[in-house]
């Protein structure tokens, strides 16, 4: 295990994706590309023709769920206009809240494993609280669907689409290489979608005269708004901290280089550390925020 960690530290951490990583090769590449004679005429808009062909033929991604017509307490339930849409959107929120619970669990595990000392990020307690509320929302939606005579285990078309959307968020949160701010960026995406999702559900419940559901959505939305605010706040302050810490590191490095330059001119060495990007915000921004 120790040998594995040591090997990882020795890996050359240099971002090689830009053309300036190897200007000579890049110059040859660009020169070659300029000489290109395309094998067919036209431009990127031609892609639309093929897509249009499939659009004409494509069936829907899936059908609305079948009604059970009996509620969880065994009563017969009536249908009403808009019920199919409501069940589809309830299914979407249900899938999202269930995935959200797993997302926050993974996020919490990551923070706890990294043993964060920085106070600007989320605490385990705060994350646990949000995670618990996501789970409560999932269970609330299960009950709401069965009360309406739906099947809470159905993957509705909107739930399926939401699942595809969330895939990227799951990948980022589950990746041990992503930092807490990078993970927060993914969580922000999820929370923004979730907030709008609950707002829409509340509006839909109002429109369809589902008073109990409207009230439940309103309470859930309030909690989701808090989640969003917290995630925004953590992300901003951690990003600012990161930027100012990098500025300080750069200053220290400059000072060390100056000292070293005075002593002897050494041939330039390639660093094994990841080059730190220059922050667009200075340390002043952080101080200003703290004031």
């Amino acid at each position: 295990m120790e040998a594995r960690e040591s090997d990882l530290k020795q890996e050359m951490l240099v971002n090689r994706t830009g053309i300036m990583n190897n200007p000579e090769l890049s110059a040859e590449l660009i020169e070659g590309a300029k000489q290109t004679v395309p094998s067919s005429q036209g431009d990127a808009t031609d892609l639309a023709t093929i897509k249009a062909d499939y659009l004409q033929e494509a069936p829907p991604i899936g059908s609305p769920p079948i009604m059970v017509e009996v509620s969880r307490d065994g009563k017969n339930v009536g249908q009403f206009e808009g019920l199919a849409v409501l069940l589809d959107k309830l299914g979407e929120r249900l899938a999202f809240e269930r995935q959200g619970t797993r997302l926050y669990e993974a996020f919490m595990q990551k923070c706890e494993s990294l043993n964060l000392e920085d106070g600007s990020g989320p605490s385990s307690e705060e994350l646990r609280h949000i995670c618990q509320e996501e789970l409560e929302h999932f269970n609330l939606l299960q009950k709401a669907i069965t009360t309406l005579g739906g099947d809470a285990t159905v993957q509705t078309p909107s739930a399926d689409v939401a699942g595809v959307l969330t895939h990227g968020v799951l990948q980022i949160v589950g990746d041990p290489r992503t930092t807490i701010p990078q993970t927060l960026q993914a969580m922000l995406t999820a929370e923004l979608v979730d907030n709008d999702g609950w707002q829409m559900l509340q509006d839909l419940a109002t429109e369809l005269g589902q008073d109990d559901l409207e009230e439940q959505c309103s309470r859930a939305l309030e909690q989701e708004q808090e989640h969003l605010e917290k995630v925004r706040e953590w992300l901003l302050s951690m990003t600012l901290d990161q930027a100012s810490a990098m500025d300080e590191d750069d200053l220290e490095e400059d000072e060390r280089n100056d000292e070293a330059g005075k002593e002897a001119k050494q041939p330039e060495k390639r660093t094994t550390k990841s080059p730190k990007p220059k922050s667009s915000r200075s340390a002043k921004a952080k101080k200003k925020k703290k004031k």
């Binding site: 062909d53 499939y54 033929e57 494509a58 069936p59 829907p60 991604i61 899936g62 059908s63 059970v68 017509e69 009996v70 969880r72 065994g74 017969n76 899938a95 269930r98 995935q99 959200g100 619970t101 797993r102 997302l103 993974a106 789970l135 999932f138 269970n139 299960q142 009950k143 069965t146 099947d151 809470a152 285990t153 159905v154 993957q155 078309p157 399926d160 689409v161 699942g163 595809v164 895939h167 799951l170 990948q171 980022i172 589950g174 990746d175 041990p176």
Partner: protein, 399 residues
Amino acid sequence: MGLNLMKEKGVALDEQKFDWRDIVQVPTSKLDSDAFTRVRIILMNGIESEALRFQHACARMNKELQPALARVRRIEQHQQTMINWLLPADLSPLETTIGFEQVAIEVTASVAVHEPDPYLAQVYRFGLLEDFDHMYRFSALMDRVAGCDANNILQSYTDILPGRPTSVEHRAPEDDLRECYDRKKAAPISKLNAGTIMAGEHQTHDYYMTIGPMFADPIARQLYAEIASIEEQHVTQYESIIDPEETWLEKWLMHEAGEIYNYYSCLQYESNPRVKAIWQRFLDYELGHFHYVVDLFKKFERRDPAELIPESLPEPIEYKSHREFVRKTLSEEVDLRARQTKFIHKDEEGADSPSVVYREQMNSNGSPSETVAAGYKWKPGTELAEETPDIKKLQKKVA
């Protein structure tokens, strides 16, 4: 009475044509398709993948067959593409994995039920219980990491329960080899069964090896690494039951007969009309391939194909839930282990047996399959669901 292979000529090779628009059809629906349509698509992709794999190996060893193999193989390539591309983009790699394991359970169960050779039937039941366990582990992964319910894919046809624990499926290579059927004595259905299951398992292995690194979560990456290793063992097992004394042309002919048998089976059960038309079209194409190879067989081997090929196809693979058969097998055979080509009870495995030593080494730094499913019990709507629907009560009320 099944299809008569020698009488039905199918479509001649020259008439088997494609274009890109034809190959890339509108995919099936993840939500609306019957799970067995997906099972058939996944299996037939594996069958065509095996056709390509075999024909490449054959070409590398037989110069004189290369032009004929290249010709047929090009068509198989496009058949495989058309079939595989029927899977929709919203079917995630993990959901597709659940589909692969459903294939491994339901198709292997059907094969085990109909296999006339008792030893080969035992081999299939042995492998079945291992894939059955994979389903349980992947379902736990799906629930706990992705927050999704595997039964949305399985549609209640297949159980989500522990089988022979994946952690004890790791065996020394010599314990994965089995006795082969005798090419001169084996029933045609035994040969067709072996080819079908080997193809399915090989494709499963290759699929896990492709998608495993696409997961960010380390437990998912470990689980795919572990189960891909078992699938490699399964390929070793299933290819060893096929008589290696069969000639290259004999094997090619059996591959083509196997493709016909599988398309024919799909056709008998398919409920999706668009997919059914594809099975019919490719059944006709495969009959064309078969007769093309029959001519080669006669030319090069100067033998009568009738000595290998049954007059009519055996009963088709049954695309249905095999819940009761699988549960019975589970209760009776979960404790079986393998020692070379024999099956033994786990109590007979010595602590110093090659498989136990190997298994202990592989699990010495933890077992991903045990970790991911620690304490796991599937529930409708995932283990996070507070309540489960009372199906019986609902059924009664609806009735």
